[in-house]
């Protein structure tokens, strides 16, 4: 019996190739995207779920006042041992820290490495990592050992065994103790891991410094339930150990489960990579909706062809086929289509994977046999497709009355109420996504058009590990005509990169906080930042280096300073010598917050060079050659400030790209449905169209005739799509301090685009039909 069903199904698919291709292609595109989204979401949700003791491991957080109370992910170095001593519920504590780039040398190769982390010896005891060479246990006991990840091992040693070899790291020799496999789904993405003792034993101050937070503190508890008890006891601990550092209260300490660190994007100053769980949910929802949209095509086409298949249903029923058997048969057909779509979808997923990985900066793989959940997901996905797309047609077709069918009382191609509802849902989703896409693109354009208050063009930023290089570099490049200004700073612009925070609470309880940039002379002209009042730092004023600061208008405004020049900044001795006009040193997502610029030549890390636009390659080459003469082998690493500013909006661009691709695919699937249904309708009305054509109907008239059936669903879809799109976009734009106000343009444009595309699809079908000889239409019965 099953063989008979399959044969019939296969021949049906072959017989109606056009509809079958549309069904299978639409489903396969949706399934391909669902597979990719599944891989992404699975990885996002699986971060650090593999550690054997993971359930007992927590990260210590602290909440501090930074303009508002924010939870931060790093803590002071002495915290970990103090906690371990204070609470019996803590089995072990581990610090994990990164203090900036390290120069790593092996033989003749020197590379500046960003991801060199320090960790306590217990790191490999509370976390489960697999050694691929050498050993991990005890590797961090010694100050002169290092553990590499596989990538770094290959980078420095190629195919040779790195264990037992010596690497030079910032002038210290480190013996490679082991090579570790660092999975993609862990927050501990270190390339090199060295002992925390290097930090704590080299400089004993770290062990007493409760004011400076540099390390993530991880604790292993006796059981997860202990966390609540400990948190209740933390206020007393805070009171005992934490000073009120420059006005910032470390008022609350908390424990965050290891598995939730990655998905919590609210934590500030975090050493760990982060994701936004909302992105996973949104993608998952979009994937499901897209799959549903593709299933709608299957349902509609099956219903549209019900009369053509009806004869078969009638005959089978007449010959004794029961309803259950017919339901089984139609589900079987859906299964066949589902499996075909899965096979094609998997091929498409493989093709799309590199682009998808690029878009999300991931290295996902379709691992059929390494992870059982992949096969389960593929089976589940196919099952879902069969369930959604096969159920209603199976129930509908099996319910058909054989006497009506065999008497030809069922018409092919007419839209049922359900079909209209389903088409409306497809259109609604497509229009909703189009509106969102247009709004995102508009916001990105808004970002590009905004005056940021400084000039990011033609500014070369060179990473400078040694602040002592500034003088010689400036001297060597000073006379070069293509360079107009040279300065330096502790941090470049960007999302909180290297940004310091200062704060103070005065006796009246008034809080003051600001971001602090350490800069060099000529900082303002180099970046094109305008002064509102006062003056720039000047070598003519010797006190500028010790007690002069420049603040922005936002700070003066917040402090209520009507005449800020000469005012002493709270919590220190520095006096304001100048006030800059406000400039956006962070993304336009954020409001303009107070900034303090302070001269500190010894704390600078980035050389800033403003060049003339012409002859840039030559200028770059000159700077590089000067660097090589002065830097003594330090790598020349540079970027342009404009590119760096562009990274502010990476997330928005990603959102735009995702919206673009999903909109296109959803629209494509919906249009395939329109194509299929209009084809069915045209075939049903072939004779009528022929007669109309004989009487003088044009392609336009026929398009209007056939397209009419889609107009009501389209109109309803526009009405349904606009309110949620408006609410969602208002919510989204509300997250940006500076945003392009939502206009009617996006809504009108999306509606018009949908109308044009639907009518265009119908017109194409009509045009194809009209291209065949008229006599064929008239002979059709």
């Amino acid at each position: 019996m099953i063989g008979n069903y399959l044969k019939t199904a296969l021949r049906n698919i072959m017989r109606s190739k056009g509809h079958s291709i549309i069904n299978i292609f639409g489903l396969s595109v949706a399934m391909a995207l669902c597979i990719l989204i599944f891989l992404l979401v699975r990885q996002e949700l699986s971060y650090d779920g593999f550690h054997e003791k993971g359930a007992n491991v927590f990260r210590v957080t602290q909440t501090a006042f930074m303009g508002e109370y924010r939870t931060i992910g790093i803590t002071a170095v002495p915290l970990a041992p103090a906690l371990e001593d204070a609470y019996a519920g803590i089995v072990r504590s581990v610090r994990y820290a990164n203090t900036g780039p390290v120069l790593v040398s092996y033989e003749n190769v020197t590379i500046r490495e960003e991801t060199v982390f320090y960790a306590d010896p217990g790191f490999f005891e509370i976390l489960t990592f697999q050694a691929v060479a050498g050993y991990l246990e005890g590797a961090l006991e010694s100050r002169s050992q290092v553990v590499l990840n596989e990538k770094s091992a290959e980078k420095y040693f190629g195919d040779a065994d790195p264990v037992g070899k010596w690497l030079t790291m910032d002038d210290r020799k480190h013996l490679v103790a082991g090579v570790v496999r660092v999975p993609a789904n862990t927050i501990f993405q270190f390339d090199f891991l060295i002992s925390m003792k290097i930090l704590t034993e080299a400089d004993g101050n770290w062990n007493r410094n409760w004011s400076q937070s540099i390390a993530a503190t991880l604790v292993e508890l006796t059981s997860p339930e202990v966390a609540g008890t400990l948190e209740a006891q933390f206020p007393e601990f805070v009171e005992k150990h934490f000073p009120r550092f420059r006005g910032i209260d470390a008022s609350v300490m908390g424990l965050q489960p290891l598995a939730s660190i990655y998905l919590d994007s609210s934590i500030l100053f975090d050493l760990f990579p982060k994701s936004d769980i909302v992105v996973s949910y949104v993608l998952g929802t979009l994937g499901f909706l897209l799959l549903f949209t593709a299933c709608i095509n299957f349902i509609n086409v099956t219903l549209g062809r019900s009369a053509l298949r009806g004869k078969e249903v009638g005959v089978r029923k007449t010959l004794g086929g029961t309803r259950a058997q017919l339901i089984g048969q139609f589900w079987g057909e859906a299964l066949l289509v589902g499996v075909a779509a899965l096979i094609l979808g998997l091929s498409l997923a493989h093709l799309m994977l590199p682009g998808f990985n690029g878009l999300f900066a991931k290295d996902l793989k379709i691992d059929y046999f390494d992870n059982a959940s992949t096969l389960l997901a593929l089976i589940g996905l196919t099952g879902l497709v069969v369930l959604i797309s096969g159920s209603y047609p199976a129930l509908y077709m099996s319910r058909l009355d054989p006497t009506s069918i065999l008497a030809h009382h069922v018409k092919a191609g007419a839209l049922t109420v359900l079909s209209k509802v389903l088409i409306t849902m497809q259109f609604t989703l497509s229009i909703f996504l189009m509106i969102c896409l247009l709004a995102i693109l508009r916001q990105l354009q808004y970002f590009a058009d905004q005056d940021l208050g400084f000039d990011a063009t033609n500014v070369l930023v060179v990473s400078m590990p040694d602040s002592g290089m500034l003088g010689p570099m400036r001297e060597a490049l000073d006379d070069y005509p293509q360079i107009t200004h040279i300065s330096a700073a502790s941090s470049s612009f960007g999302p909180m990169r290297g940004l310091g925070q200062i704060g103070h609470t005065d006796s009246s309880g008034k809080r003051f906080s600001a971001y602090e940039y350490h800069v060099e002379y000529d900082y303002l002209p180099t970046l094109g930042i305008a002064l509102a009042e006062g003056r720039d730092f000047s070598r003519a004023h010797a006190t500028d280096e010790t007690e002069g600061v420049i603040v922005n208008e936002a700070l003066a405004r917040e402090m209520g300073w009507e005449d800020p020049i000469g005012v002493v900044v709270p919590g220190g001795e520095a006096r304001v010598i100048g006030v800059t006009k406000d400039y956006h040193y962070r993304s336009l997502q954020y409001e303009l917050e107070p900034v303090v610029l302070r001269l500190a030549p010894d704390r600078i890390r980035f050389l800033l060079i403003r060049t003339r636009p012409e002859g840039l390659p030559q200028t770059l080459s000159t700077v590089k050659s000067v660097w090589e003469q002065i830097a003594g082998g330090l790598p020349f690493e540079y970027y342009f400030l404009e590119d760096d500013i562009g990274r502010f909006y990476q997330r928005e661009r990603l959102l735009g790209d995702v919206a673009l691709y999903i909109s296109i695919i959803t629209l494509l699937v919906a249009l395939l449905g329109v194509y299929s249904l209009s084809l069915l309708n045209i075939n049903r009305r072939t004779k009528e169209i022929g007669i109309r054509n004989v009487l003088g109907a044009s392609t336009f008239d026929t398009t209007a005739l056939i397209g009419r059936q889609f107009m009501l669903p389209l109109a309803i879809a526009i009405l349904l799509a606009c309110p949620p799109a408006y609410l969602l976009l208002r919510l989204w734009l509300g997250m940006y301090e500076f945003n392009a106000a939502l206009g009617v343009g996006e809504f009108v444009l999306a509606g018009m685009a949908a109308l044009v595309l639907v009518l265009g699809t119908v017109a194409f079908q009509v045009w194809r039909k009209n291209a065949s000889p008229l006599v064929e239409s008239l002979m059709n019965d």
């Binding site: 019996m1 008979n4 044969k7 019939t8 021949r11 049906n12 017989r15 004869k311 078969e312 009638g314 005959v315 089978r316 029923k317 007449t318 010959l319 004794g320 086929g321 029961t322 309803r323 058997q325 009355d401 054989p402 006497t403 065999l406 008497a407």
Partner: protein
């Protein structure tokens, strides 16, 4: 074999109520060949559908093989149908996606017959109908006469007690029509009960008895 008492069939729409059958009382004995005649719309096909357990009457009694079946569910009717009744339609109603062999085999699949037995019986039926060379052809590759032979083969493959034929020669030329009637006569002589709906008096003359319908009522019942 078949006995009806005061059968009615009403079709009701929002605006109109149409009486397709009105107080039809009749009986058909095992081994009989009965022709049902009447003008278009008189209820012939409706009566055939009810007798063939494709539809339930609106009222009255229907005894099939001494069982009252007028209130049977679709499943009960399907079980009785597949075991006892074969159908031959004017428009053949072969499944386009199945080959000749597979079309004939279909009732045996629903009866749960084993694969080997299906093969033996289908081969025998095809030989009997002189179409073994068409076994792998699809319906659209056959002439009308050949298609109706396949339909007859499919109708008899399950050894039904009753064959219902609705205008079985309506779409055939006279030569092919005569061949189909020969087949039906042969089946009847072998003991199968046949009820045939027809417009054609010549075809009706093959039957033992003719029942004439008009406006849903039996107006005449006579030997052919």
């Amino acid at each position: 074999m078949i006995r009806t008492g005061h059968l009615n069939k009403l079709y009701t729409t929002e605006e109109v109520e149409t009486t397709a059958l009105n107080d039809v009382t009749m009986a058909v004995d095992q081994g009989e060949f009965v022709a049902i005649m009447g003008p278009s719309g008189c209820g012939k096909s409706t009566l055939l559908n009810i007798l063939g357990l494709l539809d339930n009457p609106s009222g009255g009694e229907y005894y099939f093989l001494d069982q009252e079946v007028s209130g049977h569910s679709e499943r009960q009717r399907a079980n009785l149908r597949k075991a006892n009744i074969g159908f031959v339609f004017q428009s053949f109603n072969l499944i386009d996606e199945l080959t000749v062999y597979e079309n004939i085999e279909l009732p045996l699949i629903y009866l749960g017959t084993s694969k080997q037995e299906r093969k033996d019986r289908v081969d025998a039926a095809m030989a009997h109908m002189q179409i073994p060379h068409r076994r792998n052809h699809f319906p659209q590759q056959l002439s009308g006469g050949q298609q109706q032979r396949v339909a007859v083969a499919r109708a008899v493959i399950g050894n039904p007690k009753l064959i219902l034929a609705d205008e079985p020669t309506g779409n055939l030329d006279s030569a092919n029509g005569a061949e189909v009637m020969e087949l039906l006569n042969g089946l009847n002589e072998a003991g199968t009960t046949i009820i045939m709906v027809t417009h054609d008096q010549t075809l009706a003359d093959h039957a033992h008895r003719i029942i004439r319908l008009f406006d849903g009522r039996i107006v005449q019942e006579a030997a052919a």
